[in-house]
Amino acid sequence: MSTKTTEGTPPPTRRGRRTSGVGRVHPLVALLWLAPALALILGVVLYPAVKLFDASRGQYSITGLRKGDAGWDNYANVLSHPDLGTVLRNTVVWVVAVVAITIVISLALAQFLVKSFPGRRFVRWAVIVPWAASLVITSQLFVLLYDYNYGIINHVLQGIGLIDQPIDFLGNDSWTMFSMVVVGVFVSLPFTIFVFIAGLGAIPDDVIEAATVDGASPWQRYWNITLPLMRPALMIATVLNVIYVFNSFPIIYTLNDRNPGYLHDTTITFMYKLAFKSQEKDVGMSAAAGIFNVLLILVVVAVYLKIINWREETSR
C-alpha cells in the first residue's frame, strides 16, 4: 500500500488512510455520491423486507384486510402445514436437478462453442434466445408443446411410433417434475454457457500445450487441467444458478396451472399460492413463508461459500 513505509517504522495508526491528498474525500461528499444507490437499496430492498416482516406478524382476513396482530402464529401455521414436506422435497429436487444438469450440459456446449467453425457467431446468438425470451412466454409455449390433446411433442412421438398413447406430461404426477426440469434447464443453459465460455477463455494456452507435450490424453488434460482452472467460473455459475432456479416462479406456476393442490410446488410458488389461490388465502402466512424463503436461500448460499473457501485453503 504505502511505499513510504520503511522497516522498523510503526504501522500507520489509521489503517488504509493514505498520507497523500489524492483520493481523500470529505465524508459528506462521499454520502452525496452514494445517495442514489443507498436510496435504491433502502427503497427496493430494505423497506419491502421490513414490510414483509411486519405483514408476517399480522392476522389477515380472506379479503386482505389486516385484522390485528398474530404474534408468531403465522410462522407456526406454515411450519405445521401438512404439505410443507412435499414442497420442501420438490424444491430440493428441482434445484439440484436443474443446476446439476445445466452445468454438465453447459460444460460440454461451452467446449464446443469455443472452437472456431463456420457459423459460430450465429450459433452463439441462437443460444441466447431461451434466456432473452420472457419466462412466462417460454413456459406458456411449453404448456402448448406438452399438451395431451394438441401438443406437438406427443404428436411427434406418436408419429415416430415411440409411444401409442399420448403422455400426459403435465397432468401425470410421475411426469410433471421431469417436464418442469426440462424447461428449467432450457432457460438456464444460455447464461451458464456464456459464463463457461469466459472461463475457458481465461485458461492460458501454454498450460494446455505443456500438458500435451508431456503426453497427457485429452481426458486427462480436461480433468486435471481445464476443470480445476475453471473453478472460479464453476463457482459463479453454481451459486448464481442456485439462486435463480430457487427463485424461479413463472415456470413452475405456469406449468402447474391446471394442477390443484401443492403436489408439485416449490417453496416460492407455495408462498404465492398461500396468499392468493389456496384454501388458506392468508396473506400473513404467505409473508411468513416469504421470510422462511429468504432465510433458506441465505443459508444455502452461505453453506456453499463456506465449503468452497475451505477447499481453497486446503488446496494451497
Binding site: A55, N149, P166, P260, K277, Q279
Partner: protein, 419 residues
C-alpha cells in the same frame, strides 16, 4: 478479519432495522373502511371502479362509455380500471391490504367483504325501485345477515350442450334425460373414438361443474343453515363422476382439466357432451364448426331439471364522502338501457325482472330465461363459502383418483370449522 467484522455490523444493522420496523406497530394496521382519498366530511367527486374483464372487445368499451354518460348525467367522475379474471383476486386483495380499496368492485364473491364491514348495503346506496326490479333469487343470495350487499351485474345459467353430429354417428336419437341414459350415450360416443362427456374438475371452477351435477341429484351445498356437502346424495353424485372417469367415458384426466380445455374439446368437435353457457354458444355460432344443440341437464331419476345460476357482484366500499356518488352510479347502472346493453354485449343473462322481459325476444336464450328466476346458486351469501369454494377447487379433482366420500367429508369439515 475486516470482512468478518464488517459483515457482522451489516447483519446487525439489518436485524435492528427489521426489529424496529416490526415493533413500530405496523403502518398497514388500518381498520375497516379507512383510507379514502378525500378528507372526512368532504364529498367525493371522483369514484373508482375495478371491473373484471369478461371479454377483450366489450368490457372496457362499455365501462368507458358508461363513465362518459355518468359524468354527463351526474357531474361525478368515474375512473375505470379493467382487470383480467386471472388476477383480479390477487389485485383486489393487494388493494385492500394497502387500504386502497376502490369505490366499486366487480367480483364473483362479496360475503367476506360484507363480514369485514367494508361494504354499503342497499339501504344506503340502492334506489328502492331498483331493488324491487332485481330478480328475487339474486336478492336472496346477495343478502348477508339480513342486509342486501351483493348487487348483481349480470348472470349466467349453465345448460347441457351436445354435439348432434357425434350423436347421430353413435346412433343416439335424442339427448339423455337421466344419468343412466347419459352414461350409455357416453359409452356409445367413446366407442367411436371421441370423448363421451367432457368433465372439467380442474382447479379453475370445479365447484361450478359439481354444482350442476349435485343439484340435479336433489343435493345441496347448504340446507337450512347447515352445510350438507357430504350428504349421501352428494357422495352418490361424486361416485358417479368417478365411475365415468374410470370407464374412460370422459377426456383424459378430468381432475386436471379446466373449463376452457373442456370447451376447446367441444368446439373442435371431439366431445359429445359438455356443460356450457351462453358465451360458449356465441363462440360456437361464430365458428360454425359444430352442429350442436342445448337441452335441459339430465337428472338422476328423470325428475325436473334444475338450473345452476351464477352471478357476479358490483359491491360498494364504504369510504368517507362517496355515498352520493356511489348511489348515483347504481341508479344509472340499473337503467334498462345501461345494464341490458352490457349484458347483451357480453352474451350473458339479465338480472332484473324488466331485463327478463327485454330479452324475451332472443330465441337462443329462451331455454335459459325460462329457468332463470328459479335458478339455484351456490351459497354465496355465506362468507364461509368463499373459503369452501377455494377448498373445493383444490381438492375435488382428487376424488377421481381417490375416495369420493373421504374428499367430501374433508370439505364438510373445512366448512364446519371455518370461523
Amino acid at each position: 478479519m475486516s470482512w468478518t467484522k464488517k459483515s457482522v455490523v451489516v447483519a446487525g444493522l439489518a436485524v435492528a432495522g427489521l426489529a424496529l420496523g416490526a415493533c413500530g406497530g405496523g403502518t398497514g394496521a388500518g381498520s375497516a373502511g379507512a383510507g379514502g382519498s378525500t378528507g372526512g366530511g368532504q364529498e367525493a367527486k371522483t369514484i373508482k371502479i375495478v371491473a373484471a374483464e369478461y371479454s377483450k372487445d366489450h368490457t372496457k368499451a362499455f365501462w368507458d362509455a358508461f363513465a362518459k354518460t355518468y359524468k354527463e348525467k351526474t357531474g361525478y367522475t368515474l375512473e375505470v380500471q379493467v382487470v383480467s379474471w386471472d388476477n383480479i383476486d390477487q389485485q383486489s386483495s393487494t388493494m385492500i391490504q394497502n387500504n386502497q380499496a376502490p369505490d366499486i368492485l366487480n367480483l364473483n364473491a362479496y360475503a367476506s367483504y360484507a363480514k369485514d364491514g367494508l361494504l354499503y348495503d342497499s339501504d344506503a346506496v340502492l334506489p328502492a325501485a331498483v331493488k324491487g326490479d332485481i330478480l328475487d333469487t339474486f336478492v336472496k343470495y346477495g343478502t348477508y345477515e339480513g342486509k342486501f350487499y351483493g348487487f348483481p351485474d349480470l348472470s349466467s345459467a349453465r345448460a347441457f350442450f351436445y354435439n348432434k353430429t357425434l350423436f347421430k354417428q353413435a346412433g343416439i336419437n335424442e339427448p339423455p334425460k337421466t344419468w343412466a341414459e347419459l352414461e350409455a350415450d357416453a359409452k356409445k360416443i367413446a366407442a367411436t373414438g371421441n370423448v363421451g362427456y367432457a368433465l372439467p374438475l380442474g382447479p379453475e371452477e370445479s365447484q361450478g361443474e359439481f354444482s350442476m351435477w349435485l343439484f340435479n341429484n336433489g343435493g345441496t351445498w347448504k340446507d337450512a343453515g347447515k352445510w350438507t356437502i357430504n350428504s349421501d346424495k352428494n357422495v352418490e353424485t361424486l361416485t358417479f363422476l368417478k365411475k365415468l372417469t374410470d370407464a374412460k367415458l370422459t377426456q383424459n384426466n378430468p381432475a386436471r382439466t379446466n373449463r376452457a380445455d373442456a370447451f376447446d374439446l367441444f368446439k373442435s368437435g371431439k366431445a359429445g357432451m359438455v356443460i356450457g353457457f351462453s358465451p360458449l354458444a356465441a363462440d360456437l355460432d361464430k365458428s360454425k364448426k359444430v352442429d350442436y344443440a342445448v337441452a335441459p341437464f339430465p337428472t338422476n331419476d328423470g325428475s325436473e331439471s334444475k338450473t345452476f345460476g351464477v352471478t357476479d357482484y358490483l359491491m360498494a366500499f364504504k369510504k368517507p364522502g362517496n355515498e352520493k356518488a356511489v348511489k348515483a352510479f347504481y341508479e344509472l347502472y340499473y337503467q334498462p338501457d345501461q345494464v341490458n346493453t352490457f349484458i347483451k354485449a357480453e352474451g350473458f343473462l339479465p338480472v332484473t325482472k324488466s331485463g327478463v322481459g327485454a330479452f324475451a325476444g332472443e330465441g337462443k336464450l329462451k331455454v335459459y330465461l325460462d329457468t332463470l328466476p328459479n335458478a339455484q346458486l351456490t351459497p354465496t351469501d355465506d362468507p364461509t363459502w368463499d373459503k369452501v369454494k377455494l377448498a373445493v377447487q383444490q381438492n375435488l379433482g382428487g376424488a377421481m383418483s381417490g375416495d369420493p366420500k373421504a374428499v367430501l367429508d374433508k370439505l364438510q369439515q373445512t366448512a364446519e370449522t371455518t370461523k
